[in-house]
């Protein structure tokens, strides 16, 4: 832009994509070229990054480099595209490198949706979902009205929700008064910091996205209080959708109200009243999940670790902790710098509230061992708000001519960024094979149990796979809440080496004693999950399957390369 045009107030739009364009194109080409490899990759305990021939790692580095180059050259279009490509590198394989949705829990949610589609009502009487049916009900309505199968929606869900997070984060930053450059950095920061994997077909994914929208409105409400009120129906939708997110929002809103960062300042009380009323309506469904005021914060802070772990899981967990520490550390640094300046103190306080209010959840709720993941997830927007200005300033700084060290700032930023990107990639995709659900197992789960009596007992060595994915699960669970408890969860069976025949006799005896129609499902995913989590000694599951195959009491109902379904025949055991 010339001085003359600046003086005249004329800003000429320019399409400028410099060095970032080939970088981005290269990243996209690498990503798509690597997808077939990812689809047929051999199992690796170190995840997809180690198994895809380096395609995703190279694509991630290309996108990060493009981002740094764009930001330093003030070409924000390239920076935005870079963030999109980073999200594609992280999440596109879940759509294009898989046959069916990843994550076993996805299928539990599909079962609730199927139940809603078949019966029209949320009341299952067997799980907590009936009390918070917002997400399931809207998913069922969508499937009914459009004819799109819920499993198809679940398959693309992770990518869509992550892409939707980008404008949401941008809007949050703009509402917080940040410049668009800081907002773009914030988008990238949040995309890289979000390794938690709480973005699959689940209520918390939508609740978290809507929570960002609510926060956007709240931060805008200081100048326009009507926007604060506008957030109330969105908050109400979160309340009927998820058990945890509303309480985080209540805490954040109360804190922001006390600090005078939102208007009306008492909006947190309104939020609290709504959340409390809904809680009272569903108090029965909560037993065993949430005991407000009686939770153990230390126990809540522990992640779920069932087995001894594999080297791959250990590495991934270490990287996750390191990444989290860096995210929180940079956020705290940003907060400290913000608090030093009076003009930025308010914004820093807002960021601190958003980042660290979620810690209170550890004291308030017992959430099945996942609370620590939620605490980190909820901290991401606040950490991004605190850290992004710092990073944006670092990326903005121009190198004075003739000085070597400042001129290295760009390459150093690329290196640091690539390090962060690679770390996130490893953490996100480290458990790829453990989470990869077998299409054969899905087919079995869709069809095999339709005509089975209600008192079914469904055994599996490991709790992994598409369990409970049809509405039939409701009648099975009504008969027995633990009808599909895996052997790894049986007392004393975790870590079993499956040597000898004693365990088999014990298994057959137990099944015979229960006198219920019993099935056993063994899938390839269970082997991968067991290996990744170190649930059983090496070779134990092979021995298990060989023993079952040799046992005449277990008759093969369906067998493919990836999944085998057995039915227990008592007549073969009884004399």
């Amino acid at each position: 832009m010339t001085t003359a045009s600046m003086a005249a107030g004329v800003i000429r739009p320019r399409i400028r994509l410099g060095a970032e364009l080939p970088l981005l194109l290269g990243a996209v080409v690498l990503l798509f070229a690597g997808l077939p490899t990812m689809r047929h990759a051999s199992d690796s305990p170190f995840g997809l990054v180690a198994a895809d021939g380096g395609a995703s790692a190279a694509a991630m580095c290309g996108a990060i480099a493009a981002f740094v180059v764009s930001m330093r050259a003030h070409r924000e279009l390239g920076a935005v595209l870079s963030v999109v490509v980073v999200v594609l590198v992280l999440r596109l394989p879940t759509v294009l490198a898989t046959e069916v949705p990843v994550y076993s829990w996805t299928y539990k949610h599909l079962g609730v949706v199927d139940h809603l589609m078949q019966t029209g009502q949320a009341e299952t009487g067997v799980d907590i979902y009936a009390g918070w049916p917002g997400f399931f009900a809207v998913a069922a309505a969508f499937a009914t009205l459009t004819g799109v199968a819920p499993i198809t929606v679940a398959h693309v869900f992770i990518l869509l929700i992550q892409l939707a997070m980008l404008p949401a984060m941008f809007a949050l930053f703009r509402a917080a008064g940040r410049t668009h450059r800081v907002a773009i950095v914030g988008m990238m920061f949040a995309a890289l910091a979000n390794w938690v994997g709480q973005d699959y077909f689940a209520p918390q994914s939508v609740a978290f996205l809507l929570a960002i929208v609510v926060l956007t409105l709240l931060l805008s409400s200081r100048r326009r209080p009507v926007l604060g009120w506008l957030s109330v129906p969105i908050f109400a939708a979160i309340v009927v959708t998820h058990q945890l997110t509303p309480y985080w929002l209540v805490a954040v809103t109360l804190a922001l109200g006390v600090l005078g960062r939102i208007r009306p300042r008492g909006l947190g009380l309104v939020f609290g009243a709504i959340a409390f009323c809904w809680l009272m309506l569903n108090l029965d469904a909560l037993s065993g999940h949430t005991l407000v005021g009686a939770a153990d914060p230390v126990a809540n802070a522990q992640p779920i670790t069932a087995g001894a772990g594999s080297p791959g899981q250990t590495l991934t967990a270490l990287l996750a902790r390191g990444l989290s520490a860096v995210v929180i550390g940079v956020a705290l640094l940003g907060a400290a710098m913000g608090l030093r300046r009076r003009r930025r103190r308010g914004a820093a306080l807002t960021g601190l509230v958003l980042a660290f209010t979620s810690v209170a959840l550890l004291f308030g709720q017992s959430y099945g061992g996942e609370a620590i993941y939620r605490v980190y997830l909820y901290a991401i927007p606040g950490c991004a708000l605190l850290a992004a200005p710092l990073i944006e300033r670092a990326l903005r700084r121009r190198a004075p001519r003739g000085r070597l060290l400042p001129r290295l700032a760009g390459p150093v930023a690329i290196l640091v960024g690539c390090g962060a990107g690679m770390t996130t990639l490893q953490v996100v995709d480290g458990a790829w094979f453990s989470n990869l659900v077998d299409a054969d197992a899905v087919r079995i789960a869709q069809t095999a149990y339709a005509d089975v009596p209600d008192d079914l007992m469904l055994l599996s060595p490991v709790d992994a796979g598409p369990g409970r994915m049809t509405a039939d699960y409701v009648r099975f669970a009504r008969a027995d809440q633990l009808y599909d408890l895996s052997l790894a969860a049986w007392p004393g069976w975790l870590g079993q080496d499956f040597e000898g025949e004693a365990w088999r006799d014990e298994l057959d005896g137990a099944v015979l004693f229960l006198d219920r129609p019993t099935y056993l499902v063994v899938t390839a995913q269970m082997f991968r999950a067991a290996d990744y989590g170190g649930l059983f000694p090496p070779g134990a599951l092979d021995r298990f399957r060989a023993a079952v195959d040799a046992d005449p009491a277990w008759v093969v109902v369906s067998a493919t390369s990836a999944a085998t379904l057995y039915r227990f025949e008592p007549s073969e055991v009884l004399p």
Binding site: V80, P133, G134, A141, R223, P233
Partner: protein
């Protein structure tokens, strides 16, 4: 007692068996008269009579009486009148004040025969400080000027010309040229009561009274068309005198301040001149002689209330009106009433303050509007086939009026585009003595057609300016996405498309519709709107789906249809509403520099223009 005179001389031959002779009688005269039959002048052919009963200045009500040989029975009449008098809550006759000066403004257009009667009746009023202004509005002939010059060479009478057609335009001219403290407006097809101004003045005692209106009874019920019209309008029989103030909503009028039927009509009202000029006078978007055809009185009355003035309705101020006598004239009038009402409703909808008040009363108003329907015609004798056909035609007039209500918004928008509005602020301070008499051409002509209308309140002005700008841009850029989303929802509810098409329709309906509706009412910054708009749609869908599933209603389809229809309706309403004020930022955010988007937009715009200019080959 001499024979009672009709309120108005017959406007034509009498050939309807149900025709009613109309006149008035004073209680005191009736008491003095005794039991002899009372003769009615010019009553040949009439079988019934309607008498307006008054005691001095006070109007008590109407009584109907059978007419036999041009006379009515005094005894039966007396019993009815006594009952009326006893039931009346009218207090004693007010003391005449006669301390305020009045200018009577009659706007006319090429109807010298009717004007003659109206003007003569005005000049019969005895008032110490009265002048009369005849506004000759866009006349095609000099008949009006000639009439005033030749037959009303009275120093109290002046004539001004207003070449721009439209009753509001003419009234603004009269208002600016008037001298009196109060300006009384009436039409040229009326006969005013000699006590008219006295009654208006007596009602305007409170200092905050900006407007006084009176009763406009039917002066002639000679034809079925006139009888129909008489039954249809409330202002011809509204005997409830009362004061209206915005801060004091009457408990018995749930539609207040939009109870326009209670406020009187444009043929009989007076305004405090200075207040009316401050208010901007009459909105030239409305009124007979303009495309909207009416509504100027409704608009003025409600603006008086919303501006903080008091409006007093007194039945004692009488102006007899001659309704349209034949069907074609009635149809024209019905169309004007319909479009005028529709235009006025649009005006209300585009004013943020009025709109919020009106929205709360909208359901009740809609019921009243449609309940009014076609109306009917009372009959006392057995109708002939020809009369039955006429009755059917007359009944249709009501539906004509109702149908034309829906034309009002477009006509109002057209008027706004043409620059119609209130008296420009610069002209409101014009001294009243700049008014011209009929020997000099008027120099103080009102409203500049190009002027931006303002109406006393900056909020109102903004709203009107917004509506003009909105519609000038092609109209409804905020409402159309809402309506389109609603249509998408309706299409999706029909389940006609493939899953991909259904998905697209549902995403449009849910992701855009509710959020854009909110965005239209509470405008958001683009970055915020980009996430809040779909967020609101998703949230509402989740809440409704939750309700449906928790209560096992099975009403998902019904909810989609209802919600979509609501969006279509709301989108259409918003399309004519003004854009809300821009979001004001304490710190103006820097625009997002994604230059590709702007360049793409510029490129499209450039080629679009090229496309428009492209001439067909061979055109030279």
């Amino acid at each position: 007692m001499n024979a009672l005179q009709p309120a108005m001389t017959a406007g034509g031959p009498l050939d309807w068996p149900d025709a009613i002779w109309v006149g008035e009688i004073d209680v005191a005269e009736l008491e003095r008269h005794g039991d002899a039959a009372i003769a009615l002048a010019e009553s040949a052919g009439y079988a019934r009579a309607r008498l307006l009963v008054r005691r001095g200045l006070r109007v008590l009500g109407f009584v109907d009486a059978p007419v036999a040989d041009g006379e009515i029975d005094a005894a039966s009449l007396r019993s009815e009148v006594i009952a009326l008098d006893a039931g009346s809550d009218a207090d004693d006759e007010p003391e005449p004040i006669a301390t305020r000066s009045f200018t009577v403004v009659i706007c006319t257009r090429d109807r010298p025969d009717q004007l003659r009667g109206a003007l003569a009746s005005v000049l019969r009023i005895e008032h110490p400080d009265l002048d009369v202004l005849v506004v000759d509005n866009a006349s095609a002939t000099t008949a009006t000027r000639d009439l005033v010059a030749t037959e009303f060479a009275d120093p109290r009478v002046r004539l001004v010309e207003e070449p721009r057609p439209g009753l509001s335009q003419a009234r603004n001219t009269g208002l600016l040229a008037a001298r009196g403290e109060f300006v009384a407006f009436t039409d040229d097809d009326v006969i005013v009561d000699p006590q008219w101004l006295r009654a208006l003045e007596a009602a305007a005692t409170a200092p905050d009274v900006w407007c006084v209106s009176g009763l406009v009874p039917s002066g002639e019920l000679r034809t079925p068309v006139q009888a129909f019209f008489d039954g249809r309008v409330s202002w011809s029989r509204n005997l409830r005198g009362r004061s209206y103030r915005l801060a004091e909503p009457p408990a018995d009028l749930p539609m207040f301040p939009f109870s326009v039927g209670e406020y009187g009509t444009g043929a009989n009202f007076a305004v405090h001149r200075e207040r009316a000029i401050e208010l901007g006078g009459f909105d030239t978007a409305f009124g007979v002689g303009t495309p909207t055809g009416g509504g100027e009185d409704l608009d003025f009355f409600t603006r008086v209330l919303f501006a903080g003035g008091a409006l007093v309705m007194t039945p004692d101020a009488l102006v007899w009106h001659r309704h349209r006598a034949d069907l074609p004239a009635l149809r024209v009038q019905a169309r004007g009433y319909g479009t005028g009402l529709g235009a006025w409703l649009t005006r209300v909808a585009t004013d943020p303050r009025m709109r919020s008040a009106a929205l709360r009363r909208a359901p009740r108003a809609a019921v009243r509007l449609f309940a009014k329907g076609g109306g009917g015609l009372p009959s006392t004798v057995e109708a002939t086939p020809a009369e039955l056909a006429l009755r059917r035609e007359i009944s249709r007039v009501g539906w004509i009026e109702l149908a034309h209500v829906f034309r009002g918004p477009a006509l109002y928008a057209r008027q706004r585009r043409r620059g119609a509005g209130l008296i420009p602020a610069a002209e409101r301070g014009a001294p009243h003595d700049s008014a011209q008499n009929h020997d000099e051409p008027p120099s103080g002509t009102p409203s500049d057609p190009g002027a931006t209308p303002t109406s006393g309140s900056s909020l109102v002005g903004r709203a009107v300016r917004g509506a003009v700008a909105n519609l000038a841009r092609g109209g409804g850029h905020r409402g159309s996405p809402v309506a389109v989303a609603g249509v998408a929802g309706l299409l999706a509810s029909a389940h006609l498309g493939s899953p991909a098409v259904q998905t697209l329709l549902i995403v449009i309906a849910v992701g855009i519709g509710p959020g854009m509706l909110v965005n239209a009412l509470v405008p958001l910054r683009p970055a915020t709107a980009a996430v809040v708009v779909p967020g609101i749609g998703l949230a509402i869908a989740m809440l409704l789906a939750t309700l449906d599933s928790r209560l096992a209603l099975g009403a998902g389809q019904a909810m989609l249809i209802t919600g979509s229809a609501t969006l279509v309706l709301a989108g259409c309403v918003i399309a004519v509403a003004p854009p809300p004020p821009r979001v004001r930022q304490a710190r103006a955010p820097r625009p997002l520099r994604i230059p590709g988007l702007r360049r793409l937009r510029d490129w499209i715009e450039h080629h679009r223009r090229l496309g428009f200019r492209r001439r067909p080959s061979g055109a030279g």
